[in-house]
């Protein structure tokens, strides 16, 4: 079984991990879980002023800030995981990864950093659901 966890460092990421920690049966059949996070691209008119290496370092730092607590949580539980970060629009990055990786299940929060409680789901989750055929387990 292949499971993809989409994380963004918002409270929903932790809720998703907490749910998995109390429902390990869900990830038990997966040899490893794949974890993905997307870093929004720096606008073109800004990158013109900054050298490539610095921009890349920025992307790496942003991704690491999100991944680090996730990795620590996972390693403490001795689950196996692989980590992917990609620069781009979150919905596109996640949909593409889920489809191309032929995942059986995608897990993500109902919302992210810009959560508005009254909505059913946030824009990224809605767009992923619109464009991606993978069944999506949504954690509120």
């Amino acid at each position: 079984m292949k499971i993809l966890l989409a994380v963004d460092g918002s409270p929903f990421t932790q809720r998703m991990l907490d749910y998995l920690a109390t429902h390990e049966a869900l990830i038990a059949p997966a040899k490893e879980v794949s974890v993905i996070t997307a870093v929004p691209p720096v606008p073109r008119h800004v990158t013109g002023y900054i050298d490539k290496a610095s921009v890349q370092a920025y992307y790496d730092d942003e991704a690491e800030a999100v991944i680090k607590p996730v990795r620590e949580f996972i390693e403490k539980r001795q689950w196996k995981a692989s980590y992917v970060t990609a620069v781009g629009n979150a919905a596109d990055v996640i949909s593409k990864a889920a489809s191309e990786g032929k995942f059986d299940l995608l897990m993500m929060g109902s919302q992210g950093h810009s959560a508005i409680g009254s909505l059913v789901m946030g824009s990224v989750t809605a767009r992923v659901m619109a464009h991606c055929a993978t069944p999506v387990l949504i954690v509120r």
Binding site: H23, A25, D104, M129, I138
Partner: protein, 157 residues
């Protein structure tokens, strides 16, 4: 873990069951509660024109009928399940049933009987997603990867 599978008799809603079966074949250890909600018959309908349709709802036959195809799928896959046919407003009843059975998750089709082409997510699925105390897996229709779930289709991942 225990998973709630609401179906409404539509082909769309069966895709949730197919996804559940696929996960079990991939090694998931879970038990299932298959359920259908019938909207309640109103006294008005019963008194005025007890058509076969109304009576079917009253006797729960419609509920049983709606759940049949899903039961067949699970039985063919040799998966044990509990079943529940309930009367009430769909979304709150689904959630209440999930709580009653102490379910850890809900797997539901993106759309069901009232599917409109333009709708991303049907009204019941949306309402369940909004109010569910447990994670909800939304399964879109037209999935094909579980068609590979035959013994000679090769190993998964």
């Amino acid at each position: 873990m225990k998973i709630l599978l609401p179906v409404d008799g539509s082909e769309h809603s069966l895709d949730a069951v197919r996804h559940a079966i696929h996960l079990v074949k991939q090694g998931l250890d879970a038990s299932f509660v298959l359920m259908n909600v019938q909207e309640p018959t109103y006294l008005y309908e019963m008194v005025l024109a007890p058509s076969a349709d109304v009576l079917e709802r009253v006797t729960g036959a419609a509920g049983n009928h709606s759940i049949e195809a899903a039961e067949d799928l699970l039985s063919q896959a040799d998966i044990a399940f509990e079943r529940e046919v309930v009367s009430g407003e769909p979304a709150p009843t689904i959630i209440e049933t999930g709580e009653r059975y102490d379910c850890d998750a809900i797997i539901i089709g993106a759309r069901g009987r009232g599917a409109m082409r333009s709708a991303l997510l049907g009204s019941v699925s949306q309402a369940v997603l909004q109010r569910s105390p447990v994670p909800v897996t939304i399964v879109k229709t037209g999935q094909t990867h579980w068609q590979a779930d035959t013994p000679d289709a090769g190993a998964s991942e």
